[in-house]
């Protein structure tokens, strides 16, 4: 006897946990079939192919909570784990806020969101290898200076997610993913090497950027880093390219997540309804955009996903919450629970984006007399509690509204609170290449150190 990866089986298991001592239980099952090929210099380097599945169970005993997970679906192994979960829960404390969502909040229908594309599944190994090689070839043929590659390839995945709880919720959905990347290396006249990359990740094959375009952009990004130099320490406007804006949006997500808020570990604590950014900034999370990577019909606790405006023209309208963080804050869940196989639900965004503004990237760069066009950051120097922001940076120097030489070996620093208020222009170049997307942004002043 085995448990199967089905709604019915997951529901049975949740009920079985209740029979064995839980007051409530939630079961998640995931199957993922993955394929990855990496290529280098015209040859296949690695191919990886597998199917994997796992099962997770969360049990509650009136506010006491534990979770277990395994990959063995045999009845014996699963039931042993159920008993262990109940035993683990009994050793924890009563947490008044822990529990399943209210039954009335659970999703009643499962909308089709175009998350699954058969065309991704139908791709043959040869076709996938060919796409990876096309991206690399496009980068290589772009310039003689592209001398080497540090990686690149194509990956696909198709997954099934099943969620059920002892309140009677049971849902299932399938999704696909396809990602393509290439990482060229170029050298300048002194032999100093630079690498950069470009990629795209989508749910549907037809949405994927053409391999030739990915290769070309990767080559352009790599070449423009050549002959980089430092600039003197100064305070100037900084233009964030879309990938750097997306990184900033990632920080904003962390700060607006209910987990940081209830812990009072965010600079956005107590700011609901307040102006936290310039009026140019509108931030939206939408878990229901058809065909997008961050879309899903229900969240990790079975609540319907939805569209939530976090920041409307600078005003903080909402945090992102799951049931637990909502209860801690006396608010309602925004349907943003994330559920791994193991552990209590966390908070995750659906498709998180900054609404596009009116300006072309060229207009934004053109508005800067002297400043940095930021294309790269490394290091983790972002403090969500205080907003302190200090990261190693690279990009292009802007002089009289024009991009000039490559900048390397500097740090950019500021404070997120001031950076958000200092957003002077928002670009019209919003493009979803993943589940976090943002256009070009101008931040009026940051400290650059050399």
């Amino acid at each position: 006897m085995r448990f199967e990866l089905t709604k019915e089986s997951a529901e049975q298991l949740a009920q079985e946990a209740v029979r064995r001592g839980a007051s409530a239980a939630e079961v998640v099952m995931k199957r993922r079939q993955e394929f990855a090929v990496s290529v280098r210099l015209g040859e296949v380097e690695k191919i990886k192919e597998s199917t994997d599945q796992g099962l997770g169970l969360r049990v509650l005993i009136n506010g006491q909570q534990a979770s277990v997970s395994c990959s063995d679906f045999s009845r014996e192994a699963v039931l042993r784990l159920v008993d262990e979960a109940v035993e683990l829960a009994r050793a924890t404390s009563i947490d008044e806020s822990a529990g399943l969502p209210e039954a009335s909040e659970l999703a009643r229908e499962i909308p089709a969101l175009e998350l699954y594309d058969e065309a991704v599944e139908r791709l043959t190994t040869e076709e996938k290898i060919a796409m990876a090689l096309r991206a690399e070839r496009a980068a290589q043929s772009y310039s003689d200076r592209i001398s080497n590659f540090d990686g690149g390839g194509l990956e696909t995945a198709s997954s099934t997610i099943v969620l059920a709880n002892s309140l009677g919720f049971a849902g299932q959905y399938d999704g696909t993913m396809i990602g393509l990347a290439t990482v060229p290396v170029a050298a300048d006249d002194q032999g100093r090497m630079q690498r950069d990359y470009w990629y795209d990740t989508r749910r549907r094959l037809e949405d994927l950027t053409a391999p030739e375009a990915i290769g070309r952009i990767a080559a352009q990004r790599t070449l423009r880093k050549l002959n980089g130099r430092s600039v003197p320490t100064q305070t100037v406007p900084v233009v964030f390219d879309p990938s750097m804006s997306a990184s900033l949006l990632g920080n904003l997500f962390e700060a607006a997540s209910g987990e940081a808020i209830f812990r009072r570990a965010s600079f956005l604590v107590g700011q609901l309804g307040e102006e936290v950014a310039s009026r140019h900034l509108t931030v939206i999370d939408d878990g229901r955009l058809p065909g997008k990577l961050g879309s899903r019909p229900f969240d990790g606790e079975g609540l319907p996903t939805r569209r939530t405006v976090l920041i409307e023209q600078g005003r903080l309208e909402s945090y992102l919450l799951n049931s637990y963080t909502a209860r801690k804050l006396g608010l309602r869940s925004t349907g943003n629970a994330a559920r791994a196989l193991i552990g209590a639900p966390t908070v995750d965004a659906g498709n998180l984006y900054i609404a596009a503004g009116p300006h072309t990237p060229a207009e934004i760069i053109g508005s800067v007399g002297k400043g940095l066009y930021l294309t790269e950051m490394i290091g983790q120097g972002v403090n969500i509690v205080t907003g302190d922001y200090s990261r190693s940076a690279g990009g292009l120097w802007i002089e009289n509204g024009e991009l000039t030489f490559a900048v390397q070996g500097v740090t950019v620093a500021g404070n997120l609170k001031e950076m958000l208020r200092g957003i002077g222009m928002v670009g019209n170049d919003l493009d979803f290449r993943g589940s976090v997307a943002a256009p070009t942004l101008l931040i009026d002043r940051m400290t650059i150190s050399a």
Partner: protein, 478 residues
């Protein structure tokens, strides 16, 4: 101990040595130079306290087998979560497709290979300890942190442990097993002084048992360290930006080596010519005061292993000797292709992952200087003692890491705490500016995680107090 793990897999999953040889033969049926099987059975436990209550406890069991086939520079890989002959055979057949020639290598019969090292002398592994005892550790840490200063308003503390059985069978005849314990305690304290909120973070552990938390790192000591960090930050001012002398304290600041030179000396990047250190063996890449090693053979350390994840005994690899670049860290594939010896650095996150050259415990050997003298020698600079994460671009050598506890040095004295300091530099250049190395080598307390190509692994770092005469410090105060 090797036999324990081998026996575990063979009896629990009903496999024979003959079947394992068959599986290796299946993997090489279409050709190829080398094949291996990586069996893994792992149990993870965790329990966490927050807001003075034990909020959650978790246990996960993971098991599976990864099959790898190497043909020249090509690798084929497949895995299964089902440890059974038929499922592994299917994976072996999938992995074999990478090799399109036929019959170039015949696997030789496998023989149990004894372990060279015995690095985890654990009396009482945490994975077997009563949950009640772990909760006592958490409670003790919580009480100690709150008692340290009334401004400590929130404490999160968790204990995480793992026991991992591995068995590796290779087509060149090795059958190696190991049982690897790992545990750590992790803690965050939030201090609040009238709305000024600051966090402190810390932890410790290793391939150790419960005795570690009764002796090497008690919850009281950890709590005081982390609480002090949060309290210190309350008074911290913005870091001055610019180029200045930096003194790194002993232990965890060794993350500098991990980022500045460690990743760049992993052999895959160097074989492919994409590292800033490519082709520079024998060149001076650091001041002559610097000798840097990667040592996977230190007893009980987080980055230590009896064997790496390819069944190779770990070793101590000299990376930089008196400032001169000496060697790379290598896995099987890159060692073969480069005609070098594998250094026992082939590691993987789990059976789902292809091994890569990775670090173990990376540190600088002690020098001659008195740490107090080093600080006294700085007129104006930064003294950094704790760090968050770091990152490196191995191709241009640019690296950055962020201080979570740092102070100004003024006229040879450690003065005001500063916050938000990011240190950046360039790998082959940064260590050339090391002008003093202390006699106080310490290894970190055992919480390091390193990511590469999406694979996370436990690692260790270490450093004596060192002085870097000039380094770019990013801060908000111009």
């Amino acid at each position: 101990m090797a036999n324990d793990a081998i026996r575990f897999f063979l009896t629990r999953f009903g496999l024979t040595v003959g079947q394992i040889e068959d599986l290796l033969a299946t993997a090489l049926a279409r050709g190829g130079d080398y094949a291996d099987l990586y069996f893994e059975y792992r149990v993870n436990n965790s329990v966490a306290l927050e807001e003075r209550i034990v909020k959650t406890s978790a246990r996960s069991v993971a098991q599976g087998v990864g099959v790898r086939v190497i043909a020249g520079e090509k690798t084929g890989y497949a895995y299964t979560a089902e440890i059974a002959f038929a499922a592994i055979r299917q994976a072996a057949s999938t992995a074999s497709f990478i090799a399109r020639t036929t019959g170039t290598t015949e696997p030789v019969g496998i023989n149990a290979t004894p372990l060279v090292h015995d690095l985890y002398s654990v009396d009482a592994p945490l994975s077997g300890a009563p949950l009640k005892r772990k909760i006592e550790l958490l409670t003790q840490a919580d009480i100690a942190a709150r008692a340290f200063d009334r401004r400590i308003r929130e404490v999160q503390v968790g204990v995480h442990d793992e026991i991992k059985y591995v068995m590796i069978a290779t087509s060149d005849g090795r059958l190696v097993g190991d049982v690897q314990p790992l545990a750590r305690i992790g803690m965050t304290c939030i201090a609040d002084d009238d709305g000024n909120r600051q966090a402190g973070r810390g932890g410790g552990g290793g391939r150790i048992g419960m005795e570690f938390f009764e002796d090497a790192l008690t919850p009281d000591v950890l709590a005081r360290t982390v609480a002090l960090q949060a309290i210190t930050q309350l008074e911290a001012r913005p870091t001055p930006a610019g180029t200045m002398a930096v003194v790194l304290g002993p232990g965890w600041p060794g993350i500098l080596l991990h980022e500045a030179v460690g990743h760049g000396l992993e052999s895959d990047f160097n074989r492919k010519g994409s590292s800033a250190f490519t082709g520079r063996i024998g060149e001076r890449v650091a001041s002559e005061l610097c000798t840097v090693v990667d040592d996977g053979t230190l007893a009980g350390r987080r980055g230590s292993l009896n064997v790496d994840d390819e069944g190779q005994p770990t070793g101590c690899t000299v990376l930089i000797e008196n400032g001169v670049l000496r060697g790379y860290m290598s896995d099987h594939l890159n060692a073969e292709l480069m005609g070098a010896a594998a250094t026992g650095n082939g590691r993987r996150q789990s059976y789902k992952h292809i091994p890569l050259p990775r670090m173990t415990n990376t540190f600088m050997l002690a020098g001659q200087s008195d740490p107090q003298e080093i600080i006294r020698s700085v007129k104006r600079g930064l003294y950094a003692v704790q760090f968050g994460g770091g990152q490196v671009d191995i191709t241009n050598g640019e690296f950055a890491f962020s201080a979570s506890e740092a102070y100004l040095i003024e006229d040879g004295k450690v003065t005001a705490p500063v916050r938000g300091a990011t240190l950046r530099g360039n790998g082959p250049e940064a260590l050339k500016h090391v002008t003093a190395v202390g006699n106080d080598l310490e290894l970190d307390l055992g919480v390091g995680m390193c990511g590469k190509e999406g694979q996370m692994l436990p690692v260790g770092v270490g450093l004596p107090t060192i002085k870097i005469s000039e380094m770019t410090v990013g801060g908000t105060s111009a």
